[in-house]
Every structure is written in C-alpha cells, then in structure tokens.
C-alpha cells in the first residue's frame, strides 16, 4: 500500500446525478482520509450524500470527478472485473435494507461471497459456522430471509459482509430500521469488530454507534466536515 497506514484517501470527490434536466450534486469536493483499524462514523441529514460516499469507497459507484484511492488502488480508473474482485476480497458491505438473497438460506447467504474465492467446501462450512456464532444465529442456518425478523436479517448481513474477512467494512445505517434492543446487539457486533482491528466506516444517526467512533464526520449538501476538530 503506497500510503502506509491509510486505507481510504479521497480528494476533491464530486458526484453529480442527472435527473432529467436537473443536476443533483450528491458530493462536492469531499476530502477524506481513513487510517487502518480506525472506526469512522459519517453523519448528516437525509439526502446529503452519505450512501453515495460509501458506494464510491466500496467501488460500487464512480465519482464524477476527484480521486478515490482505497488500499492504494485508484478505483475511478479500474475496470469492472477488478472492482468485482476488490469488492469480494477487500470490502465488506452492510446495506441499510439488509438486501439478503431471498432464494438462499441464511447459511447460503453468508457463504456465497466465498463462492468467488478458492476456498474448499470444508473451509466455507467452518467459516459460516464461525460467523453465525459471532452474530448469534446458529439456530437459523436453514431458514430463508423471509422467515427472519429485521434484526436477524441485519445480523445475517453482517455475517455475510465478513465472509471473506475483508479488512474494510462499510456499513450503511445498520440500526436505522431496528428497535433499541436489536440495535444494541448490532452495536455489540460493531464493537467486537473494532476490537479485531477492522477498518470500519459507518453511516449512522445512532448515538450509540457515534460513541464508538475514532473519527466523526458530518456531511451536508455534499460537503464533508470533520467533527473531531
């Protein structure tokens, strides 16, 4: 990695969406630096560009201008095959609405990101067991997503994001749709992952998660501001 301990380096990041005749600026000259092992929280009002920022860091979206370097790779210059590999091995995604694959069971949902790696069946099985134990869902192995509650689906999404043991975890509003009790379970998982030394970027409004942060950022109208200073 060229930048030493820096995992994410974004400079003058802009993202503009064209909605008919209207141009919407989701990000405006956003700068960001995330160090290895740090827990970063991004906050901001709805529509301020938080999810767009996560998507660009994760290689799901590309900036209109500016530079995004993750683990030393300039993602804006990479092709789809590289980005697919990158997302598979280096990044774990937890989406706001869980987004589990409805045709797969809990175990299969956790296992499928490993399908694109060279892991043996035994390794995959062992890893699935470990992850479901981590999120406390060992008893739900054979269930389908529609048979789970929202909190359980979110925990499966966490387990899935960790399947390939990615060094960077991107989490979008993990407690946004959950009650307080279930949110606490999610916070415990995040705490455990922080303890394991993962680099984590979370978009959230949850005060409980905010307190875990090493770096706090605020995004408003596409502009990113550090709250640590």
């Amino acid at each position: 990695m060229k930048t030493g301990q820096t995992v994410v380096l974004a400079s003058l990041l802009c993202k503009t969406y064209q909605m008919g005749d209207l141009k919407v600026e989701a990000l405006r000259d956003a700068n960001l630096k995330v160090e290895k092992g740090k827990f970063t929280v991004v906050n901001g009002p709805s529509g301020s560009g938080k999810t767009t920022l996560l998507n660009i860091i994760g290689g799901i979206d590309k900036p209109t201008s500016g530079k995004i370097v993750v683990f030393g790779h300039d993602l804006s210059a990479k092709n789809e095959d590289f980005l697919a590999n990158f997302r598979c091995h280096r990044v774990g995604f937890v989406f706001q609405f869980y987004n589990l694959v409805s045709t797969l069971t809990v175990a299969e949902n956790v296992a499928f990101p490993m399908e694109w790696t060279r892991k043996s069946e035994n390794q995959v099985e062992k890893r699935v067991e470990e992850l479901l134990e981590l999120v406390g869902l060992q008893h739900r192995v054979e269930h389908f997503p529609f048979q789970l509650s929202g909190g359980e689906q979110q925990r499966v999404a966490f387990a899935r994001a960790l399947a390939n043991n990615p060094p960077l975890l991107l989490v979008d509003e993990p407690t946004g749709n959950l009650d307080t009790k279930t949110s606490l379970k999610i916070i415990q998982i995040l705490l455990k992952l922080k303890g394991d030394g993962k680099t984590i970027i979370v978009v959230t409004h949850d005060k409980g998660i905010f307190e875990l942060a090493d770096q706090k950022l605020y995004l408003e109208d596409g502009k990113l501001v550090s709250l640590n200073a």
């Binding site: 998507n55 979206d61 789809e80 697919a84 989406f95 987004n99 589990l100 045709t103 797969l104 299969e108």
Partner: protein, 620 residues
C-alpha cells in the same frame, strides 16, 4: 390523469415489453394467416385440394401434415398470446396495487388496463394480418420466379377477417382475466413481490449440497416463480412439438416419400421403347408434379410394339441385370360392386358402386418387375391370374373398399389385391399380369421394356452398346434414361417438404420472444438480488450465468418434452411406415439443435443488457 393518456403512456414507457408483446402477437396472427393463404395456393392446403398434382396417397400425407401443423400453429399462437398477456399483466400488478393504494377506483383501473389490452391486441392483429398477406405474396412471387406453378388466386379476405377476429377475441379473453384478477387484489397484496411475481412462500425444493451456487439460485428462482415457469414450459413444449413435427416429420416424410417414388420408378432404370412412346411415358411420369392434359395417344399402334429383335438382343448384352417387359395402354375401367355377408343376421351389404373412368393399364410379368411399391395389400402373384393392383388415385376416385372389390377391364373382372403409391399417370393406373392382359386384348407384344444395368460395370459403355443394337434392329426405337424425370419427381417432393419445414419459423420467433419475456420477468423479480450479488463481488458474467441457466433449464425441459412428443406423433400418426436413415437423423438433429441454440442465444439478450448496467442502477 386523463383516462385515455394513461394507457398510451404506460405502453410507451415499457417500450421493450410492449414491442415484445406486439411482435409475438403479430407473428402468431401472421403465421396462421400465411399458412391458410399459402396452403390454399399451393393446392394441398387445409381444404385437401389436389388440383391435378400429386397422387391422392401422397396428397393425403401432405394434407395430414398441413392440418396438424396448422392446428399446432393456431394452438401455439393462442398459448403464446396468453403467456405474453400474462407476463404483461404480471408486471403491471404492482402498479395496479399502487393505483389502488392511492385511491383509484376498481372500474377505472380495469378501464385503464383494458384500454391497453385493446390497443395492443388491435395493433398486433392488424400488423399480423398485413405481415401474413405480404409473406403470402412474397412466397408466391419467389416460387413463381423459380418456375414452379403457383395458383394466382386473389387473397381470400373472408379468411383474413376470420383470422383477425379469432385472434382478437382470443387475446381479449386471455388478457381480461389477469386484469380482472389484478383489479380485485387488495393494494397491500398487489404491492408485495410475493404476490405480484407469483412467488410461493417456500418452494420446498432442496438442491443437493454439492450443486453449484449459480445452479442453486437458478433452480430455486424457477420453482419460486412456479406459475410463470409452468406457463413458459407449456408454451415452449407446444412450439417444440410443432418444430419437431415440421422438421423431423418433414425430413422423415421427405425421405420416406422420395423412397416410395424412387422404388416405384426405379433408380438407374432405362426405358426402351419407340420414340413417341418414350415421350408419352415421360409425360405420364411428369403428371406427378405438373398438371398435364391427356394426349390422344394410341398406345397399341403397331409401330410402338416391341420388335422381337430388340427383346432378343437384351439377353445377349452382358451387364443388364433385369429386364422388365410391359404392355402399356389406356382403357375404360369400371368398379365392380361386391357384397359383405353377415353370418349372424344373414344380411348382405353392398360394397362400392358402378363407377367408371379411364385408367392407364400396365401389364407386367409378376416375377420380373423392377419397381417396388409402397402398397396396401399384396403384389400380383401369378402370370395368368385375373388379379389387379390399382394406383392410389384410382382407388380413391373409383372404389369404396378397393381390396374387397374387383375392376372390370375389357369385360373381364380382375380382383383388386393391392393398392400402390405410384407417380405414373399420377396414381391413375392399374397393374395386371401381362399374360392375362395379352390374352384379353389379343396384343401379343409388349410396347415398353425397362432394364436395370449392373451398377458395378461401366454404365456408359453398356448404354452405347445397347443403343447401337437397337438402332440396327429399328431406328424408331430409343433408349431413354428415367433418372432425369425421377429427379424431377423427387425434387418436387423436396420442394413441398421444404415448404413445410419452414412453416413453424414464425412460431419459433414468437417462442423466442416469449422466452425473452420470461427472462425479463426473472430479471424484474431478482433485480435487487442481482444488484447485491454484484455489490458483494459477483462479476457481470455471474449474473448472466444465473439468468441463462434459468433460461436453459426452461428451454431444455420444454425441448425434451416437445421433441419426444413430436417424434411420437410423427412416427405413429403422420408418416405410415417411416424410413429413418442415418443422414436424416443427423439432418433432424442439426435443425433441432440450431433451433435450440438460436432461441437460447436470443433469450440471453435481456440478461447481457441487464448485466452491463451499473450496480446502483440495478439496485435502485
């Protein structure tokens, strides 16, 4: 929202889907209309008109095919229309739910979507009629340019109107049901993907653990989408039955019927007769593929009778394998009525009538005949017996149950013991023992000899030798090779069968569009999940594989069922005593695999288009 604008805007908004439904509807109507119009013109259509060409036996085989193919094309059309309208409405159920949730009354919703249905059905049927008429004109023009005699009948507009109305009503019936059902659904249900995509809660289907991840998703998605999957499998199975009947049936029937003609005329056979007789014999054989007027030819003219010298020289030329001596003439024949006796009741029932007509009469030596016919009953056995074998056209025209009756010829009754398929004089022929014919006519000499030359020897050399001998005996006589006329007969059969093979082309295109519609439904249902897979590291080709495996499973299961049923129908029902050669099997396999590959490749279009989309566009 203006009531008339919503349906038009909605149709225009879903450009790809609207054009798919329109195209498939258009092709279904066009294929049925084309079949009816063109079938009428080429003379062996649904109406069973022979128009002076083809023997009645051959015509029957063709007509059976045409009627069956026509029926299947119509059924396929109806199924395709029902499927496309179902897919169209399945993708609108969510909108219906949203409209209801927003307070739109049921009758208005029904009105919106019924208007859409009426617009699409009217336009589809109209375009189908136009395309069907144009295809008919184009085919007629094309075949006329190739020198084939095609009737120039004007377009039967009553038929056109009938096809239009029939398909219009069918589409409205099939389309109104899902609209009515959707309009009645509660808004919450209609918005739920579990309802509007026809998902069942859990398939109960478990794939084995070792099966691949892609296959696992593909299979479960197929079972989850049960209703649509069953419909598309049913639809494609019917299309493949049609394709198999047309292609496999067409090829097997072509090989079989060609072999009937070849065996009846004789491949590599040479005719020895007077020049005028040779011309007349050629005319008799050409009646199979073109309408010819009967010439006033005197078969028994002294000049045409075979000189002894020629008959003697045939024995002295080495290399001649068979010599088939014939006396050919034309005469009035009469059906002889028979009676059946019921031993229980003691009642007698008459069989047949007293019909009369002219027939070509051929006297042959039963043990020395070169021809081998496809026949019902048996061939002549004894040289002096008063037995006859009649051609299929004569049997159909003049007899009720030919094998139970006799034929009267020169005031002598000959028992009909066989009915054969023979192209000569277009099946209007009677074969009797030569000796018996000579006995009742008093003509002691034959007028035609056909010979077969040993294929292992130099044919040209033997023919030259034969010509030289004959010229010395009687310069009026000549050696005439029958291969040319045989090739023209066989070529005519090939042309008709090739026309049949292409009949299901429109249906095949419609089936491809149906499968594309199904793939689009699969993509719409799994859109979000594909986005997630991509976001978590799946490459675009993984998504294409998941979709294509679904498409392939559907296609392959329909293919297997369709081909199996198609082959059974062809071999058991459509072609009597089929001849299946190794080459025919290869040809059939080639055609059917090409059809499978073409449909599969077409069906991948929406998948490849979808996979190219950015992840965020897929997920939002």
């Amino acid at each position: 929202m203006r009531e008339t604008f919503f349906p038009i805007n909605d149709l225009l908004r879903r450009k790809l889907q609207t054009s798919l439904v329109l195209t498939s509807l258009t092709l279904c109507v066009a294929s049925t209309l084309f079949l009816l119009l063109f079938g009428e013109k080429i003379g062996f259509g649904i109406s069973l008109t022979v128009e002076g060409r083809l023997t009645s036996g051959f015509s029957m085989v063709f007509s059976r095919f045409i009627i069956f193919a026509g029926l299947l094309i119509f059924i396929v059309g109806a199924i395709i229309i029902s499927f496309m309208i179902f897919v169209m409405m399945s993708q609108r159920v969510r909108d219906i739910g949203l409209l209801k949730a927003a307070g739109c009354p049921n009758d208005l919703i029904f009105g919106y979507f019924t208007t859409e249905l009426l617009i699409i059905t009217f336009v589809g049927c109209f375009l189908g009629v136009v395309l069907g008429i144009l295809a008919n004109f184009a085919s007629t023009g094309l075949l006329s340019n190739f020198g084939l005699q095609i009737s120039q009948k004007p377009v039967n507009f009553l038929l056109v109107l009938l096809v239009f109305v029939l398909f219009f009503i069918l589409a409205i019936i099939f389309g109104a049901k899902p609209i009515l059902d959707a309009a009645k659904v509660e808004p919450a249900k209609a918005i739920s993907p579990a309802y509007h995509l026809g998902l069942s809660k859990e398939s109960g289907f478990k794939v084995v653990s070792k099966s691949g991840f892609i296959f696992r998703i593909a299979m479960r998605s197929l079972f989850r989408r049960k209703s649509a999957t069953i419909r598309i499998v049913f639809c494609l199975t019917t299309v493949f039955i049609l394709v198999t009947v047309a292609v496999a049936g067409g090829i097997i029937a072509e090989v079989t019927t060609k072999s009937w003609v070849e065996k009846a005329v004789g491949r590599d056979t040479v005719l020895i007769a007077h020049q005028n007789m040779c011309t007349e014999y050629e005319l008799l054989l050409s009646k199979f593929y073109e309408t010819r007027e009967d010439s006033r030819f005197n078969y028994t003219d002294e000049r045409y009778l075979m000189p002894e010298g020629i008959l003697n020289c045939l024995g002295s030329i080495s290399g001649i394998e068979y010599v088939d001596i014939r006396l050919v003439l034309k005469a009035q024949v009469k059906e002889v009525r028979n009676y059946t006796f019921n031993p229980e009741t003691g009642a007698t029932t008459p069989v047949g009538d007293d019909r009369e007509g002219e027939s070509l009469i051929i006297g042959v030596e039963p043990g020395m005949v070169l021809s081998k016919w496809f026949l019902e009953g048996k061939f002549l056995g004894e040289a002096q017996a008063f037995e006859a074998m009649v051609g299929d056209s004569l049997a159909q025209r003049m007899f009720s149950t030919p094998l139970m009756q006799s034929i009267r010829l020169f005031n002598h009754d000959f028992a009909v013991i066989g009915v054969c398929l023979d192209p000569i004089n277009n099946g209007n022929v009677t074969y009797v023992p030569l000796e018996a014919l000579q006995g009742i006519t008093g003509i002691t000499k034959p007028n035609v000899v056909t010979v077969k030359i040993d294929p292992s020897l130099n044919r040209t050399e033997i023919l030259n030798q034969l010509r030289a001998y004959i010229r010395t005996v009687n310069p009026g006589f000549e050696v005439f090779e029958l291969n040319g006329i045989l090739d023209r007969n066989v070529g005519f059969l090939g042309y008709i069968w090739s026309a049949i093979i292409f009949l299901p082309l429109f249906s095949l295109i419609s089936a491809s569009l149906c499968l594309i519609g199904y793939v689009m439904l699969a993509i719409a249902e799994q859109r979000q999940e594909f986005g997630v897979l991509r976001a978590l590291g799946a490459k675009p080709r993984t998504i294409v594989r998941i979709i294509s495996e679904q498409s392939f499973i559907v296609l392959l299961s329909s293919y297997a069922m369709g081909i199996a049923l198609g082959i059974i129908i062809t071999l058991l029902i459509l072609v009597p005593k089929p001849l299946v050669t190794g080459y025919a099997v290869l040809e059939i396999a080639g055609w059917l695999l090409t059809a499978l590959a073409a449909i599969f490749i077409f069906s991948l279009y929406p998948a490849t288009r979808f996979a190219k989309k950015p992840i965020l566009e897929i997920m939002t």
